[in-house]
């Protein structure tokens, strides 16, 4: 582990420079921070919104962009119908708007290519976001670390970053994408159409040249509980598994 105390990270304003719809429910917002913002793949930020009467709402969002991307950070935000922050982003926020942001935060669910591998990444829905930062970091660093990403989505059209992931998979450079759709048939020959289970993890790990040195699992609490158990049932030592859970 390469964890150290995070530097103090006060609130700063960040301007939305670009908005890109990723799937019917997930939209990416690109932010220009007002101060230099160095981070590691897997970290998150806190976002704070303030109403005219002083009421504030804050939520944590994982960073989707790679640290190498430079001046802007990408947050891929899923719209939660009963939320109060994500509906603001989906329905109100426009390019040029400013919000307050704090970070980077989190020193455990992080990976750099210097940490080595192989790496097993397991994401459910928007839980793929911090894993995407790791995958992009690996690609931009031209890292040779073998990585398998097992990504569970309900349907093909909800596979966030789909074209980019398929493109990275096509490179055959040691990054392997395993898609599993829980409410639709698989679209690619080696993909799955069921919830993640131990057999799927065993087969996905067989694509790596040796067992993973680290595993990262991210998604809803239900997803992470089930997927982490699938990894343990597939004989991944629990001490290698790092989890990040969001939502309730």
């Amino acid at each position: 582990m390469r964890d150290g105390p995070a530097a103090q990270s006060p609130w700063q304003t960040a301007r939305i420079t670009r908005i890109e719809k990723r799937t019917p429910r997930v939209t990416s917002f690109f932010f220009q921070t007002s101060r230099p913002f160095a981070y590691r793949a897997g970290q998150h930020v806190d976002v704070r919104l303030t109403a005219p009467d002083g009421y504030q709402a804050r939520r944590s969002y994982s960073i989707a962009s790679a640290p190498e991307t430079g001046g802007t950070i990408e947050l891929a935000i899923e719209k939660l119908e009963d939320g109060e922050v994500s509906p603001f982003f989906h329905e109100v926020a426009a390019v040029g708007d400013e919000v307050e942001l704090r970070g980077p935060l989190g020193g455990h669910f992080v990976w750099s290519d210097s940490d080595g591998g192989p790496l097993l990444l397991v994401g459910g829905g928007s839980g793929v976001v911090p894993l995407m930062a790791m995958v992009r970091h690996r690609a931009l660093r031209k890292s040779a670390v073998p990585v398998a990403l097992v990504f569970s989505a309900r349907v093909w059209d909800e596979v966030i970053f789909r074209n980019e992931l398929l493109g990275l998979d096509d490179r055959r450079d040691g990054f392997d994408l395993v898609l599993t759709l829980t409410r639709e048939a698989a679209r690619r020959p080696a993909d799955y159409s069921r919830r993640i289970d131990a057999a799927m993890i065993v087969q996905s790990m067989a694509r790596l040249p040796e067992p993973p040195k680290l595993a990262f699992v991210c998604g809803s609490n239900t997803f992470v509980s089930a997927a982490a158990q699938a990894l343990i049932d597939a004989d991944v030592p629990p001490g290698l598994i790092r989890t990040e859970r969001y939502g309730v």
């Binding site: 990270s9 303030t50 109403a51 709402a57 400013e98 158990q229």
Partner: protein, 203 residues
């Protein structure tokens, strides 16, 4: 800084307002947060050890620990990820009663809590004694589920909830304030929600 187009949506009634620390929101659910997979600790494998530095003072098996006096504690809890939950009802063994059973007074000013999964968190000893903290065995009258830290979790409700170590298996008195797992990873050394001590460097 007022955010364009953002309006108060979920402002709680004023009578509960005073119970919500700065930057927190009220949540009716009970989210689960942990750094790794949920360990399944069987009560027959469970034990709890009190240590002074490296030296064990006393060790209890599950059955022995359950003979210690049970105390009820109903408290609001505050997670650093910004949810607050009101009136969570726990039963467990006060740290005071654990010390009494071991026949010792707190020997040092700092304590490190240990868990079955290797997790640690540091708490000043005075934040654990005088009825402030317990090793909880029941939540809402039922055994604590593994997701929420069962069979037993530390409960230090006046600090951010990462201090309430899940799957706790020991308390270790230390001479210095030794940062625990999250405290080494950017989280505040003390973690008072009312002073909003979330991250390293917060006041």
């Amino acid at each position: 800084m007022v955010t364009r187009g953002f309006f108060s949506g979920r402002k709680p009634p004023t009578d509960t307002d005073a119970r919500i620390p700065p930057g927190q929101y009220l949540d009716q659910g009970f989210p689960v947060l942990s750094a790794g997979p949920t360990p399944r600790v069987r009560t027959e494998d469970w034990s709890f050890t009190l240590k002074h530095g490296p030296r064990p003072v006393k060790k209890w098996a599950w059955a022995e620990f359950n003979t210690l006096p049970l105390t009820r504690m109903t408290r609001d809890i505050h997670c650093v990820t910004a949810w607050t939950k009101f009136d969570t009802a726990w039963q467990g063994v006060l740290v005071d009663d654990i010390l009494a059973d071991a026949g010792i007074e707190p020997p040092t000013a700092f304590t490190l809590a240990h868990s079955f999964d290797g997790y640690t968190t540091n708490v000043p000893t005075t934040d654990l004694t005088a009825g402030k903290a317990m090793v909880a065995l029941l939540y809402e009258g039922k055994p604590i589920t593994p997701d929420h830290g069962g069979p037993a979790r530390l409960l230090v409700p006046h600090l951010y909830f990462w201090k309430s170590a899940k799957w706790v298996n020991g308390l270790q008195f230390t001479e210095r304030d030794e940062p625990g797992f999250w405290e080494l990873r950017g989280y505040h050394i003390y973690g008072d929600p009312w002073r909003e001590q979330r991250y390293t460097g917060d006041p």
